[in-house]
């Protein structure tokens, strides 16, 4: 029995490798991490399927977004597909500094994070999406707890973002209330959207929310590094953070030993990219239309052969 299974496994492996484009190195599984949001899982699944096409063995391991760095350092985990400049930079830098984790370059998507309002608020506050127009109708966004100031629902404290500083620097009549998780953030948005009630909150892209709900990001004075560091730059000469938030790439990282063990796979991982528009469409398909993650990944692979055949060809 045992012999026959190894035989079958061997035959299958042979079949896979003959159909693949590059000769695989080690047949140990490459462990790709998955987190608890759809976009990242789809992203990891596509990369995994491409690596399989090239003849590599792949395993998906569910791991926490930040805690995974400990596993990437020890070599328990091998690849992470989405480290956001905006939320994961510190942890990534700390891990890269140990020498045991390497940055595999940009993942192609740009993270956008900013204040966001639903489209129906444009009737109430003419002049949106300009931030001054928002400030002029701050009282529209007030609640019992924050009146007379408007209520702005910020992200979890751990996301940073300097919203408290921004409100002070731009002298806005808003109070920042922090949600604990993004689930709470979207629950409030859904509730307000159903009632067509005023709301302004932290949203980010790529995500299904901007696809499901109609609305726009507020336009703040454009971000610059000087604006964050130098108080004299920007509208308010005495305060930093008197501008909008930076956009940033989403990085791929891997265990440092990956390049030695699977050099071909490392090349594919470095080349692999996905655009914001692709990701938006994929996430919408899965979260709003109920397509399975596997099927959505297969659809993308079928439609984008031109792109990935180049990555696999090297």
């Amino acid at each position: 029995m045992k012999h026959s299974t190894t035989l079958v496994a061997g035959l299958l492996a042979a079949l896979i490798s003959t159909s693949s484009l590059a000769a695989p190195e080690s047949q140990d599984p490459i462990k790709i991490t998955t987190h608890d949001w759809t976009g990242q899982i789809v992203n990891s699944t596509i990369l995994g399927k491409l690596l399989q096409k090239a003849g590599y063995n792949v395993e998906y391991v569910q791991a926490d977004y930040i805690a995974q760095f400990a596993g990437l350092e020890t070599g328990d985990l091998h690849v992470a597909t989405e480290i956001w400049e905006t939320t994961g930079r510190e942890a990534m830098d700390a891990a890269v500094a140990t020498g045991k984790v390497v940055n595999m370059g940009e993942g192609g998507m740009q993270a956008i994070e900013e204040w966001w309002y639903p489209a129906y608020m444009e009737e109430v506050c003419p002049g949106l999406p300009d931030w001054k127009a928002l400030n002029d109708c701050a009282s529209e966004f007030a609640t019992a707890e924050t009146a007379p100031l408007g209520r702005y629902l910020g992200g979890p404290v751990t996301w940073g973002g300097f919203d408290d500083e921004r409100v002070k620097a731009l002298e806005m009549d808003f109070e920042v209330v922090h949600a604990g998780t993004d689930a709470a953030l979207f629950a409030e948005l859904e509730s307000a959207y159903q009632r067509k009630a005023p709301i302004v909150l932290w949203l980010y892209e790529p995500h299904w929310a901007p696809a499901k709900f109609e609305g726009s990001f507020i336009k703040f004075p454009p971000y610059s590094a000087e604006c964050y560091q130098d108080p004299s730059v920007g509208i308010n000469p005495n305060a930093a953070y008197d501008c909008g938030k930076p956009t940033g790439p989403i990085w791929k990282v891997s265990w440092a030993g990956l390049e030695d063990k699977w050099p071909g796979a490392a090349k594919i991982i470095k080349d692999y990219t996905l655009t914001n528009a692709d990701m938006g469409a994929l996430v919408t398909k899965v979260d709003l239309d109920g397509v399975s993650i596997d099927a959505a990944a297969d659809e993308w692979i079928a439609a984008n052969e031109a792109a990935w055949s180049k990555w696999l060809a090297q």
């Binding site: 299974t5 190894t6 079958v8 496994a9 299958l12 492996a13 896979i16 047949q27 140990d28 599984p29 490459i30 608890d36 949001w37 759809t38 995994g48 399989q52 063995n57 792949v58 395993e59 391991v61 569910q62 791991a63 926490d64 977004y65 930040i66 805690a67 995974q68 760095f69 400990a70 596993g71 020890t74 328990d76 985990l77 510190e90 942890a91 019992a144 707890e145 629902l153 979890p156 404290v157 751990t158 209330v177 922090h178 949600a179 604990g180 998780t181 993004d182 689930a183 709470a184 953030l185 979207f186 629950a187 409030e188 859904e190 509730s191 159903q194 009632r195 009630a197 299904w208 979260d287």
Partner: protein, 666 residues
């Protein structure tokens, strides 16, 4: 003059004085600091702060990377332990959910499928019939049919596999440590505070070191579950062994038992019914952990709940959440039935295997037949997807309807509670200067439980102040305090009602079971939709979760009153009202206090979950530490939560002891 002296001697004068001083200091602490320009009044001086979190982080770094035990590193040891658990876990999971495979990762080839759904349901029905009767069999079977029909089967089997592995390990460990505490009194004293910490330090606080030491994946989640779920088993085992009647032990001595025979042939069998209560607790706590375990790779139903709610799929969250409840109820009823099961009659050996073990044989036959059939018929192997039911958008639509029609009403209720109750209490607690907080805590504990308790409370409060978490700790006490007050005000009357009326009892009992096992995340999201992010939403979540012990202990207290006492009350002409207030409540007081104790414990254990809706308390600190992988910070904040819990527990235990003495004296 005499009246004045009596006034100062009266027991409650102390409490009124303490409250008045605290209130005055709390109200005037800020102006005082401004007037004297003494910032230390409201803030613990930062140069005196102990950088314990930095030391702890460094210690864990060392433990993870460098700790060397001569022949191997510390991490080798923990990895070895985790491989010991991983092997049986993999087998069980293959049998229940994934099927047996050869090879690794995507190269793996399935050799044999998992047990078919029909076989699993049949095994459970047989167990139900064996443990009690057909009613139980129907209940347990029905619960698992729900899992199949609502399409939760695969995830449920993953969760069930971790229960199957975690529960025996937790029980064996708990029993082993319990036996040690029974044999060695010094070990008992040593382990008690450790058990307190294991139960009260939030799991998030030690998640990161567990992940690094035990590796990523389901095993780390199992270890975290065991840390949380084992302590009650230790406590119950120790209690059960100690309360074996001395006559039984004597009898064992007389017939000449050795030490080992005494333990396994005399003590453990006589303590079995109480030990099974511990088993039941381990099962329930394991299921309580599924959400947190799924955050670090356990998968299963917990992951379904989390990911459904992240896409705001309320119906999906409820279906997966109810699946956890249903599984908890089935396992709970089964394990309780095993406790109460009368010993089976011994049948003569010449009957043949079939006649002696009819259930075992039938079950084996069904398992084998369905397994073979499953190889050819997919519908036997796994429940056909076309026949699954779903509530679809029903729950989301219902939520939308409530939201559109009643939001304003809810908003009014919320504003009322905020202005009348929450904000004044918050102001009171956040105003208390830390120095007075330490003194007041020490005085209160001393008054209730003597100088030792007073000293301990003062030291623990000093720890909280010195680690720089004073303000967050006060917010914690305010939020938990208000929630416990409300939960208790709702729960005790409900419990009293249920205690006097069996029909009410069964309904209330079912609701409490559901509230305790339904992952709080499931109702947290709708609560946020109706009440927005903030303290009020957090309070509702805590109240819902902490209600159960208040109800259960009150009902238990009322039910366990000696009927003769009630008879005596009736004979002496009590009205029902007098009977309740003068006879039943005083007699049930120890039980009520125990219920209060448990309500506080559950409220504190909800802190980390409420941090997910944006409270600014110790729970948030623990959560921030987790998301930044800052081990030391998380553990120190977790210790602060634990100390608050321990102080509350000790004070209430002292109170309940004295009230028990009063009841017995009466």
């Amino acid at each position: 003059m005499n009246a004045l002296i009596r006034f100062f001697r009266a027991p409650w004068t102390f409490w009124i004085a303490l409250l008045l001083i605290t209130w005055t200091l709390s109200t005037w602490s800020f102006p005082l600091y401004k007037a004297l320009d003494a910032r230390w009044i409201i803030r613990f001086p930062s140069q005196l702060q102990v950088p314990l979190d930095v030391w702890l982080t460094a210690f864990f770094k060392w433990l993870q990377n460098d700790a060397d035990l001569f022949f191997f590193t510390f991490r080798d040891l923990t990895r070895f332990l985790s491989s010991l658990i991983e092997w049986p876990y993999d087998q069980v999971r293959a049998l229940m959910a994934d099927g047996f495979e050869s090879g690794q990762g995507s190269n793996a080839v399935e050799i044999a499928p998992p047990l078919s759904w029909i076989a699993v349901i049949f095994i459970l029905i047989a167990l139900g019939r064996y443990a009690r009767d057909w009613w139980l069999a129907a209940l347990v079977g029905g619960c698992f049919v729900y899992l199949a029909v609502f399409g939760q089967w695969d995830s449920a089997m993953v969760t069930l596999s971790s229960v199957i592995i975690a529960v025996p390990i937790g029980v064996a460990l708990g029993l082993g440590i319990g036996i040690l505490t029974y044999r060695l009194p010094w070990f008992d004293r040593l382990i008690r505070p450790i058990l307190d910490l294991m139960q009260t330090v939030p799991v998030f606080a030690y998640l990161v070191p567990v992940l690094v030491l035990f590796g990523f994946g389901p095993v780390a989640a199992l270890i975290a579950t065991l840390i949380y779920a084992t302590p009650p088993m230790v406590r119950i085992a120790s209690l059960a062994l100690k309360s074996v009647p001395t006559e039984v032990v004597e009898a064992g001595r007389i017939v000449g038992c050795t030490e080992r025979q005494m333990m396994w042939r005399v003590l453990v069998p006589s303590a079995m019914p109480t030990l099974m209560v511990g088993v039941n607790q381990v099962i329930m706590l394991t299921l309580n952990m599924v959400i947190i375990a799924s955050m670090i790779g356990a998968g299963g139903l917990g992951f379904d709940v989390l990911s459904a709610l992240r896409r705001l799929d309320i119906g999906g969250g409820i279906e997966a959440g109810v699946a956890i409840v249903v599984m908890a109820i089935a396992l709970d009823r089964l394990s309780q039935a095993f406790v109460r099961r009368p010993p089976s009659a011994i049948l003569p050996a010449n009957l043949g295997t079939l006649r002696r073990h009819p259930w075992l044989v039938t079950t084996l036959v069904v398992v084998v037949v369905t397994y073979l059939l499953g190889l050819f018929l997919p519908a036997v192997q796994s429940y056909p997807a076309a026949l699954t039911l779903t509530t679809g958008t029903f729950w989301s639509d219902a939520m939308e309807w409530i939201n559109i029609n009643y939001f304003d009403t809810f908003e009014a209720v919320k504003s009322f509670f905020l202005t009348v109750l929450l904000l004044p209490v918050k102001r009171f607690f956040s105003g208390i200067p830390w120095a007075w907080g330490i003194i007041a805590m020490g005085l209160a504990a001393w008054r209730v439980g003597g100088w030792r308790l007073g000293l301990m409370a003062a030291l623990m409060t000093t720890f909280i102040a010195a680690s720089g978490f004073w303000a967050k700790a006060m917010i914690t006490i305010y939020l938990c305090g208000v929630s416990v007050l409300i939960a208790y005000a709702i729960g005790v009357p409900l419990g009293i009602w249920a205690g006097q009326n069996t029909r009410v009892n069964s309904v209330v009992g079912a609701i409490m079971d559901t509230l305790q096992t339904l992952p709080s995340f499931v109702y947290l999201i709708p609560v946020v939709m109706l009440f927005r992010v903030g303290d009020f939403s957090a309070m509702i979540a805590i109240v819902l979760y902490a209600l159960a012990p208040a109800v259960r202990y009150a009902a238990h207290g009322i039910r366990s009153i000696d009927p003769q006492m009630i008879e005596a009350g009736l004979v002496s002409g009590c009205t029902p009202r007098q009977l309740l207030w003068r006879v039943k409540l005083p007699l049930a007081a120890p039980s009520l206090l125990l219920g209060l104790n448990q309500t506080i414990m559950l409220a504190l254990s909800m802190l980390v979950i409420t941090a997910l809706v944006g409270t600014r308390d110790l729970g948030q600190e623990v959560y921030i530490a987790l998301t930044k992988a800052d081990t030391g910070h998380g553990i120190v904040a977790g210790l602060c939560v634990a100390f608050i819990a321990i102080i509350a527990d000790r004070i209430l235990t002292a109170l309940s002891k004295s009230s028990k003495q009063r009841v017995e004296a009466a």
